[in-house]
Amino acid sequence: MDTRYEGPEPLIGTNLDHADLLRHAGTQAQQRGFDDVFIVDADFHHTERRSWAEILEYVESDVLQHFLKAGGRGQMWIPGLPDGGVIQEVAGRIHPAQSWADSRNELTASQRDVQLCREAMDSMGSNFLSFFPGWLLDLGTFGYDLEVPLARAWARWATERVLPADPRIVTLLPLPLGSPDEALKLVEEFADKPGVQGFMVTSLRYDPLYTKPYAKLWRAIEERGKLLGFHASFTTQDRPVRQLNKFISVHSVGFPLFQIIQTTNWVINGMPERYPNLKILMIEGGLAWVPFLMQRLDHEYLMRQSEAPLLKRLPSEYMREFFYTTQPLEAANLDYLEMTFDMINAKTQVLYASDWPHWDWDPPSRIWDLPFLDEAEKRNILGYNASRVFNLPIPDTMTQPPAPDSVGLSTKG
């Protein structure tokens, strides 16, 4: 048997241009009439590698800036940062992140990121997108006391170089939770910047977010009417996941695992009662884990209520007031997915997200084509829910949502 693969094998995909790779998404948008469907992409990423020199300009310590520049020798470098890119793209089989990395070399880094955002929005038919980091999602796991300076640098770079360039680009700024005081300072300093619709926790972290040092932080975000997102991530290093030998296993388990841990701590410690007006958005964990956790927590709470004295309702009732992004939509069995949507009350609590340009991204057609949703539910999930949660305006020229009481909207939204 001939088993050697000489590679690279015949393809015309190697040099796929970013806009060209998305042209089928443009066709889908046109076929479905998305020019009259308000769409918000609640999770969209840039790749810091090409923007790194610009971001480092905003590192406030000269010594640290010099350290990171020198260590990288002209490339992006963060001590201890793993490089899983090739694995994520299934050994080069998947192209979105590659097309993003290779595109628009003639522009400056931030101009390029803005242009790629515009191309994606224009192709998919999105009206807004929520712009997130890639590698810096995991800044809470870096050593060398990098969390605070890099969180501040990214916040300054994004709010000075990216968000002002296009009002359709908004963000939830990553919080440096290793220092609650610095996280609070970041909220106070950046909450009113245009395009900052809230703040973000990467779920892969180990801080007890329900404890006293963080209380002022959550209150500050709540009082400002901002959104708090928990963005999923994964690690190959924690002892329970070290035995997972394939990326499919690490990714399938890791993203929901840390969403489950953060949601459990948030609910069981009564955070929804302590911060009743703080909107919570769970990002990029998919949806299938939510019904599991609802059932599991309700089951145990009936027998161990004394361990969760702040709760006044079943855990699942609090979880039904969280918001969830769709991607990656586990749609292999539509009957299961329909049940999941029903349990989450998706028509008011779920927000479309693409996760472009990551390997498991979803175009808006993924939602529009679901056979068990009516058009009003599709419009809610694609954009109207995000309009409420992110506080984003719907253009007057587009079809407007029905009155809130006619669709049973949660007052928490």
């Binding site: 088993t3 015949p10 015309i12 790779l21 089928h24 089989r93 998947i94 979105p96 175009p363």
Partner: protein, 124 residues
């Protein structure tokens, strides 16, 4: 039944040489023709998974795991008797012999007959 209504010339032999591929619009559909190991293959360039430009992705051989008599994995290796075209959007793999998805046969590419006529290439 073919999705192409009539025999249509889409290119010439040189356009599929050196691993190049022909993209053409026939009857309002985007189709791609390529040659692999001396044989022509034609498919609609539309992934049934999420609509990606499937025929612009890589060609890759099937990966297989080899077990010993005790059930232990000896190695993983490429089986070059089975080639797949991989959608560049999400990596879904389709066998080029029949267009069937390797992971779930409910997904299937739309095949188009592609043949040489001299140096010309026709689909039908």
């Amino acid at each position: 039944m073919s999705i192409v209504s009539q025999r249509t010339r889409v290119g010439v032999r040189a356009e599929v040489a050196d691993n190049k591929r022909i993209m053409a619009h026939v009857d309002g559909r985007e189709i791609v023709v390529f040659e692999h190991r001396g044989r022509l293959y034609g498919f609609e360039n539309l992934c049934p998974h999420m609509g990606g430009p499937v025929c612009e992705g890589k060609l890759a051989p099937r990966v297989e795991a080899v077990l010993d008599s005790d059930g232990a994995v000896i190695e993983e290796r490429f089986d070059k008797n089975e080639w797949r075209i991989v959608c560049p959007w999400h990596g879904v793999e389709f066998k080029i012999e029949d267009g069937v998805c390797a992971a779930d046969p409910k997904y299937r590419l739309r095949r188009i007959e592609a043949n040489y006529d001299g140096d010309d290439i026709y689909v039908s």
